[in-house]
Symmetry: D2
Amino acid sequence: MVIILGDHQYGKAESRVVRIYRDGARHDIRDLNVSTALRGPFDAAYLEGDQSNVLPTDTQKNAAFAFAKSHGVGSIEDFGLALARHFVTDVAPVEGARIEIEEYAWQRAVVDGTEHDHTWVRRGQETRTAAVTVDATGEHVIGGFTDLVLLKSTGSEFAGFLKNEYTTLQETHDRVMATSLVAQWRFASNDFSTVDIDWDDTYAGIKRIIVKQFATLQSLALQQTLWHMGKAVLEAYPAITEMRLKAPNKHHFPVDLAPFGLENPGEVFIAADRPYGLIEATITRDDAPDAGEAWRISAGRA
Amino acid sequence: MVIILGDHQYGKAESRVVRIYRDGARHDIRDLNVSTALRGPFDAAYLEGDQSNVLPTDTQKNAAFAFAKSHGVGSIEDFGLALARHFVTDVAPVEGARIEIEEYAWQRAVVDGTEHDHTWVRRGQETRTAAVTVDATGEHVIGGFTDLVLLKSTGSEFAGFLKNEYTTLQETHDRVMATSLVAQWRFASNDFSTVDIDWDDTYAGIKRIIVKQFATLQSLALQQTLWHMGKAVLEAYPAITEMRLKAPNKHHFPVDLAPFGLENPGEVFIAADRPYGLIEATITRDDAPDAGEAWRISAGRA
Amino acid sequence: MVIILGDHQYGKAESRVVRIYRDGARHDIRDLNVSTALRGPFDAAYLEGDQSNVLPTDTQKNAAFAFAKSHGVGSIEDFGLALARHFVTDVAPVEGARIEIEEYAWQRAVVDGTEHDHTWVRRGQETRTAAVTVDATGEHVIGGFTDLVLLKSTGSEFAGFLKNEYTTLQETHDRVMATSLVAQWRFASNDFSTVDIDWDDTYAGIKRIIVKQFATLQSLALQQTLWHMGKAVLEAYPAITEMRLKAPNKHHFPVDLAPFGLENPGEVFIAADRPYGLIEATITRDDAPDAGEAWRISAGRA
Amino acid sequence: MVIILGDHQYGKAESRVVRIYRDGARHDIRDLNVSTALRGPFDAAYLEGDQSNVLPTDTQKNAAFAFAKSHGVGSIEDFGLALARHFVTDVAPVEGARIEIEEYAWQRAVVDGTEHDHTWVRRGQETRTAAVTVDATGEHVIGGFTDLVLLKSTGSEFAGFLKNEYTTLQETHDRVMATSLVAQWRFASNDFSTVDIDWDDTYAGIKRIIVKQFATLQSLALQQTLWHMGKAVLEAYPAITEMRLKAPNKHHFPVDLAPFGLENPGEVFIAADRPYGLIEATITRDDAPDAGEAWRISAGRA
């Protein structure tokens, strides 16, 4: 029996990089949470405590802040690519880099009906995300968001389901459906120096499609809603090859008001915290190129 | 030496009341987190375990949901008043009721450029709050919000401050200023059956004023910004008699990029979590009527 | 109508001060979260942006860290007193100081049955707290803790309560009772240079009493349990003059297993998140000395 | 181009199952957070909204509570196996089940030096975890914990690391090392009906080994500490075939007290929130059996 070191990675998580553009009176802001992880021949650090191949996580953090100035922060996909390429290209032992970024959105403060030049209010809806991996297999870019909270007060059913000895749920043809959606989409290329993607525009378009599907589909199940979201995005964006969706079913239970002599025709609900349903799906093209390690977020592989 | 029971109260915290209006094809939603607390002669429950005067917290919760139907949910100030009056008027031993409400805001989903009839996206900026107290001294209403996150990239200074042996901070005449503002405003009346306030409109107006002051004042200190926020609100709203503001100074430190051969003229910042400054102020009219227990949130009084 | 500045204060919140004692091979640790707030004639900072009386919050933070070395960290009550006295005594315009501290507890790692000299595991039960106020009225010390999570599987009843048209709750003579207790106790003196209190020992003793009362009282209501906790502490500790207790009733509902052909005689429960009952009480001596601003935590007074 | 449904799963997350054993005066408690997910031919639910193969998440929740009574809750690994086997064996279309459980630990309240029969205090250190997968490839069990918070005040170095143009970090041969460790260990078998493992005893032993390695190793890097933790566990437990460790490096920076005329020989630190290092490693046997989907937690595979 031999014990060996398997997959490993290390990096600096959650550097809070805020970039202000102040080229004129009208400033701009991008507000990021940047995590970097490096992969490569770092075995000696584990086995013998030898750091000679180890670029400190503090240095990785410094690079993130320096790049916010030298490269600039446009979209988070672009910033992640720049940082990942730097680690793989410029730091000799590094073989793979994984950059995960969250972006907090700000909207301009409105003063007397006019957008202000240098003041913003945090928007606080969903958090945009990017996950960029660069390694020997090429470049992999995943866009996405977390926690887009959606609710529809009708247009949702759940009936005809499988029943067994533990089933007590009643069927319904009109219920509240709510979720806090997590979405990720993988772009097809593995060399983004040769393709031209408007990352911000793509993001806005995908979000618009997802909201539309949620709103307009007469939903027979959250599963069906997810499928239509993914399918519609892939149909609209040839550059995207795969969607992953994760949707908690945030239950809103009608409250029984009969003991108080009141009817409740779908008007008063209690929003429950836990437990919640959790529905997940991957929607993909049948000819999607190999994902490499695009989806690998940690040291281990599934 | 005698040990006695001092102030006390009890209630049901955080009932998640969601009210849908579905009178036609176009639905409406109000999404609340309701906490109730009762005050009165409940000593026997503490001293002897005698519950004969105790309206269970479960019953208080039921009342909150029932009122969402029977009274309806317009503004949270109005809903809080109705619920507080019910407890004080209809439940014999109750002498005082405190209703605290948070409201989560939703905006209509936009589909193909049109607002959707029955689908919403959680807005996720600040959380609107109300605190209503009804007791023998009358009715007290406090409106407010928590966590309005604001940032300005210039127009903020901090200089000329007191220095002692522990001072290392440098003066600055141009810094990022950011906060996550908590505001509360007390209405002057103690009988709201006789006054006519458009609660929702007042809320929107106050928020607008606060954002404007934050944006346009050349700030010499966060203290000064708070004063001007409060003063401007009181000047605009005669019905409001007192403002309380609580503002964490969410530090954004310029990153030293010199070791990497880069200048940083106010462009790259690290957003720090802790510690943070915390600035608080009350701005009031000199003839403000007595607050009674309007500000008392718990069993104890200051 | 004149608009004026009312109560105000400012300070640095949540400085994470970790103090290691390494006088020999056996180290010690105290791990604090320190918040300071100053009160006094700071009106000009609000009204005119004049900082000449304002000791920066950054300086307050520096003092907290410096005192961790120069004064040392014994108990958090003692550390708070030293820091508060410093601000009031040594910084000319300061009239009052409020120091709030949380302490995170560590226990020594056990290696081969022996406590280790310099390694600890975070204990993670309740968080110990102190709130010290020093001003013209003297010194006020409040000890306490947050989030001591307690549960008993029997020995708790709730019956004989008031009923009205919104009551659906059933009476019970055997239920699970659980809470996440917040307790604060005020010491009677207003000059702690003349009294000798073993703060750490007092803390341990009070916690022991509270746990014992929770466990051994056949509880007719959470209210009654709180009363007995407070009474027992005041009886045991003459130096303490007032207790404040705040107890969420963390509901554990028996699950109806009858549809599955199973009995559930108090064995299977669902732990609910929200809503929860919230019971609060002050237990005090009838001759308790004036609290001054001991309980005032923010700019506003109740 | 064809768009297809890829991997998917659905279930009920975070059912808070509390099981009391009350066979005599001395009760016992197990306090769980149970998440279930099913895998199988559920395509029609996504593609057409056809639920005929879909066992509702509500039913899955009911089964979890029913099993807490009928099967009982011993260790979470055993409970997870029972539940997973039920779904795969008893529910016709289900092909795979994934059960993830967190366990909150309670210790008996001590009253007058004696452990109490039916009262507990939440222990609040690490959270124990289990992840059980049952499918056509057999049974897979992963034990583990999250958030074991450890700190050592000496015996940790970081030097000899790789430097580049972004490196500013100084080398150190004596620093505070702290982490909030996440550990998972995979058992070798794929049929646990034939092996006899004392899950609770194994858990306690692994935690003891991990704490010991953290305490006693003169650490040249957190990487090295992880390796020794994993290696020691695998050496001690032949039944375990693979360890995954994830360790945030919770930075404690020495505070510069020189401006205040004070020395700081490793005594006063500021505990930083973000960013933090994040070190991950898999330690495995070279002949570890295939993991199947043991590590797959979501719809997607890496």
